[in-house]
Symmetry: D2
Subunit: 313 residues, 4 copies
């Protein structure tokens, strides 16, 4: 039994959850292979009220401890100069957005090229395939037709009877199983698993102070074999899956869920989602499973994309 | 009967399709009000094979006649320097994207603040509410929870028995009705109507030459009352709805569908979609209606968003 | 005698140093009018060793308390993909920079359109002339041919016998006069005056902590009439002229030097310069006057420009 | 004698003008080593009228055949919302600029890391030292203290008695010598040589048509040994030195002046300068030598910088 505390144990875990070669040597979809059209059809049957709920945060233009390189939102033409095009009768406004979407502030999807372990990404591809001109392999384009399936929300604060997960006490695999049971469902093949750590409730009580190091609750590495065994297709969090900072650092393994999830399993990750509205709706509906869909921007050679995933109840 | 040829006629048309005040003086959703949760529930029943299809073009980084201000895609950290963060074992790549998404190249949604007529946008709000710091009214945030409903594809080249719509012969309201019939369906309240002009087939045969003025097929203004009468919620096109250039210019009314659609009706527009894959799937499935969903990035004060809409059959 | 403590006194000061109309109603150069070609010729005679010294900070890409919206520096093509252009034998690297250069981090020049007082900028022009599409009046283009003249460095820490100016004790007009004398020179018409507050020595001893509010030393408002009387052409600082935060806030006058300097006098400001190297060279040379030159980027409608001013001894 | 027509000849030329090792194995300044402080002192004596003249084009925000990826200039706060900061009395406007400055539109300096030949840049350094995260060697920072010296303008159209250099007839070394003589001067060690091809006169008569391939006049490769022999420090052009397209293409040597100048000689290049004003002033003054200065932005790891060089007569 691994304690997930040493480099050697992590290497062993990495190998044990590796899907390299599982779907062919040229596969770039990883665990999206679990997410079949049958999953989408089954998920559609979960739509009952038709209520759609965004699971994204606002485009993060405001600087702050969790957003050191804010996104750009600039008007190109505003309502004070709408005729700037010079075409009679043409009155418009338009704007520009810019974002380095990885990090702790933007709701985004990580492509499988986002993280390397020992110089390799998913399916054994070399890191150097991600060049200064973009990712030639494992880009986000494998998800260009959207990700559609059953979303299941595991509400860990609800399980613990707290408002939020204490950043020093990561979520364990046993808790994932317990959350399933308490929410009367079972995570299965192809599910899009959303694990709430109550980030926003935590932030409301502990607003990030300028001088304070960021803390975000996350998963214990023992969740990794659980996610692997359940054949989860995509993993989402209101934080970033890996605790920040790690309460139990492992030598050379700073972000185990990212490293094993993206690089070994080929499991796309959704970071910095927003679950406050969804949680409330789930409680109202007394169910934590729903139709879930997101579509990355079609960024050829991209390492991911900003997203606005939608849950439909 | 209007011929839609003069400024006076367009002003009359504008008034006749205006929804200002229809859903309250503070409404910012416009015809999204037609798109109820019931529409989403009904649309979900259209999911049969579970096949999902992107209706977006790739992020437009390549300059060209239709893309004079290309989007930016820059690596921030590539695979040649994955340890740049300096945290032992942290090996990542990440990138930056930037885009002024309006125009002819990017698949995007127009917010209701994108176009003004005589200094006013939807619901009579002054253009000056769109400031250099962003849109205080009628921003894209009204669609933050996603747009979910029945998509219907009106395939005009198929109706005409051609590969693409001739840019000099705009699509008429009669053709919209004829397309419905030939595709065995009827557009109704809340539908997300996608009108294909075969832009990509046209481009394949007439690749835009550097020196050539851009031409894009579009709708005749007489489609506007048709869309209004049918209570369409959202209108999408593989081009930009208004012909470029107009084969029958109207004084001071350069873009009638944008002007009446956005400013009078409050109907969000989806520009520069990609229908080649969807059309093929519809032909295979012998149906042109499907579950359709898109979610803009949550750009507070944004005039729209790049999007990747998904049709699910 | 004004104490420069109340709104009324500031309004009076503003009027007394106003150059509105002085060089014509259409003038956009302000105190650059003092900087004649004769000044440049005279300044050239100060070149003796030929040593040139940058007075700029590095392009500020690193986030921090003084740099909440860092500049962008992205490679477009790096040395890992030099043949990306696809032209045989063409091997290049190239990059992209982006910056909102105002603020506390970037060495930049403020154009006269950067600051308004009661809705007016220099020469009585309305703020609304700076539109979402750029500044139609008082842009940086008035300095497109470069700023060339005599630079004089007033080294206030040296005068005070300290390493840096205490942010709570602003530099006074009397100190400017005393610094002149102690450095054996007299500021005169057309001079480019650089006032060192020892920002970098202060930072070395008090590195900005993440949680700490930024403090920057600056000038007391009584320096304003001094600068006006001496007919200074351009004012530079290693900080931002106005203390941050003000140790003696004045109602509605948060940044008196910017407000009186830019809007009343029409005096361009150079913010966030770097004087460590220049100070050392001046001490070595036992003189604090030198040939000084800077040239803004030719940003039509720009509110300023990032700069790298050069002192030549 | 080389004809500069074959790959072998170019390789031979490259070796013959190579300065690799000349100023030490770690040198990153290349021919800037010729530009001593004595040069600056001597150049200062050329200042007689004090007239300063910009040699830069405007920041290139407008798309066009020569500017496929236009620079960005966005307002962040305009005069329609000057109080956006929310600080009482603080009324400002500010803007953002962004640019990938290499190419045919922006006045910029090429750092020595901009071009590689057979995977090597100046002084034999490997191209891979320019990573996705920036240039670790041969960046523009070697010129951070400005480039100051004697500028000499060789006006080739004037020599030829034409308005502009015909793009199909590159400037030869003999013409450089003839221009010197006709302008009564001799290029010597450390000079900053500016070679005018009359680009703007050419453009005025042949405005670039959208469909037309760009043509720019440039230098014949036989100018390279001439520049090497004269120990030129920096080379500037109103075009890009190498003809576009080459009227006599050499296998695998698409841009000989860039390849030999930057990579072999270590000579910084100034591209896309603007000489119309300078030429007129030189004619008026009957001299073509002057004090010349430019300072790149201090972009750590940058491959160059946008610039606004100034000539002072």
């Amino acid at each position: 039994m691994l304690s997930y505390a040493t480099k050697a144990e992590m290497q062993s875990l990495f190998r044990s959850v590796s899907n390299w070669g599982r779907w062919g040597d040229n596969d770039e979809r990883g665990t999206l292979n679990y997410l079949t059209t049958e999953c989408a059809v089954a998920a559609a049957k979960l739509i009952s009220t038709g209520e759609s709920i965004s699971c994204a945060r606002n485009f993060p233009v405001d600087p702050g401890p969790e957003n050191p390189t804010p996104a750009l939102h600039h008007m190109v033409i505003g309502g004070d100069d709408p005729c700037a095009h010079g075409i009679p009768g043409m009155e418009v406004s338009l704007d520009f957005i810019g974002i380095a979407y990885h990090g702790l502030a933007s709701s985004h999807i990580d492509a499988l090229c986002h993280v390397f372990v020992d110089g390799k990404m998913y399916n054994g591809i070399d890191a150097t395939e991600v060049r200064s001109t973009g990712a030639r392999r494992n880009s986000i384009m494998c998800a260009k037709d959207g990700i559609v399936g059953r979303g299941v929300l595991l509400d860990i604060p609800r399980l613990r009877g707290t408002e939020f997960v204490d950043p020093t006490k990561p979520v364990t695999a046993d808790e994932l199983s317990a959350a399933e049971k308490s929410q009367d469902m079972r995570v299965g093949e192809g599910d899009i698993v959303l694990i709430s750590v109550g980030r926003d409730a935590h932030r409301a009580q502990h607003p990030p102070k300028p001088g304070e190091a960021t803390t975000l609750a996350g998963l214990h590495p023992d969740c990794i074999p659980w996610l692997h065994a359940r054949e989860v297709s995509v993993l989402g969090s209101d934080a970033v899956h890996d605790p920040v900072p790690s309460p139990a650092p492992i030598e050379n393994w700073p972000i185990p869920v990212h490293m094993c999830g993206l690089a070994a399993m080929g499991m796309h990750l959704l970071d910095n989602l927003y679950f406050v509205d969804l949680e409330a709706a789930c409680v109202r509906a007394k169910r934590w499973k729903f139709f879930f869909t997101l579509s990355p921007l079609r960024i050829a050679r991209g390492t991911g994309s900003p997203i606005n995933p939608i849950a439909i109840l």
